[in-house]
Assembly symmetry: C2
Homo-oligomer: 228 residues x 2
């Protein structure tokens, strides 16, 4: 890529992740290792040659690593390195800004549960450490956990979840925009396992798309999420 040629930390960061699609690739990988075609699905609109280019550039920058899954599933997956995971706070701030001040979303735009779920990542949660919840949205699975005080969100099914919650994408969006609270959400969802744990997870997600970066200041100025 063309470099800025400026000895400024910000410019040097943009030299590596400033190109089109780069940060969105990182966004996808924040949920965990992904195969090439998974990335294509998660990045609607990206030309396949660009995805290949970006993955190579991100590998060269040490942000992404390509790894072969162990037998018997001998497929290649891409995952974030420690350097790549270090971008999480920056992405969270950009996401928070986009939430509050970004352009109004177009109804024709694509939307995926993973994108809105990521806004729940990093929120303070009452979920006890070590407790995990599997969240199933339509056919996709996500894993909710905590580092002790903050919510973590990863993709893929949980090995041994304390609770499994199944709900539709619509129900999830309404919960996270604050349009509905936990109680009606629970009525429209199916819970398997410990109901209290499920309730804690759902409470953490409630209203995650309002306010800024997980803090609940200045509710009401957020751009509403439109359903497709």
């Amino acid at each position: 890529m063309k470099k800025y040629g400026q000895q400024c930390p910000l410019a040097r960061a943009l030299d590596v992740i400033g190109e089109r699609w780069s940060l969105l690739v990182v966004r996808e990988l924040l949920l965990g290792p992904r195969r090439y075609t998974d990335l294509l699905d998660g990045l609607p609109g990206i030309p396949t040659n660009l995805l290949a280019s970006r993955l190579k550039e991100l590998q060269a920058a040490g942000i992404v690593a390509r790894r072969m899954l162990p037998r018997p599933t001998a497929v290649a997956v891409y995952e974030l390195t420690e350097i790549g995971r270090a971008l999480r706070p920056a992405l969270a701030e950009l996401r928070a800004w986009g939430q509050r001040y970004g352009p109004e979303p177009d109804e024709a735009d694509a939307i995926q549960p993973a994108w809105v779920l990521l806004s729940g990542s990093g929120r303070p949660t009452g979920l006890p450490a070590g407790r995990t919840v599997e969240l199933r949205i339509d056919t996709e699975s996500f894993q909710l956990g905590t580092d002790g005080s903050l919510l973590t969100v990863t993709g893929g099914p949980a090995p041994v979840p304390d609770a499994t919650i199944t709900m539709s994408a619509e129900t999830l969006y309404r919960l996270m925009t604050g349009e509905t609270t936990s109680a009606p959400t629970l009525r429209q969802a199916t819970v398997d396992g410990d109901p209290d744990t499920a309730r804690l997870a759902i409470d953490t997600l409630h209203g995650a798309l309002t306010g800024t970066a997980g803090n609940d200041r200045d509710k009401g100025h957020h751009a509403p999420v439109r359903l497709t």
Copy 2:
């Protein structure tokens, strides 16, 4: 600009500030209102037509406002709106990441005092609220202040500074990379006004280019700043 067409807060943010040079324009304006030619100077390498385009796009997005300076200096300046200033935390995170993990700076790259000074912005400072310091680097002036606990950095001379510090760019870089401490820096600088206030400001800047986002964890892994 070409939009991503994704109803994701991050993608919507990038729709507006994801283009080449956009965030660097915001970086320049974080120091205060700037004229068109000041921006050209602060963004070495940008073609003038691109700067004009970016400024128009940023105005359309409500991030930047164009204003006419009052008499007698009837010139146009560009400045950040509240929406634009809200990008500061995101830029700080990106800058911190670039500092720690970005590519090694090239010796041929341009460097400006303002870029490294911005890394001092947001650091915890012992400077009392209301106290301001004018920092003169070669021919440029900057204003250091605080919101009570965190350092603020703006461009231009301070109206009534409690202290004025003059030093060379080299001395500033050595101070901020942690290569020298406050004492030798003060010996190479000229201080006018209250020496204690000057010392507090210099202490805040010391080592700002090490560690992450103003926190001083994991010193020593930073990329060194090279002088031109």
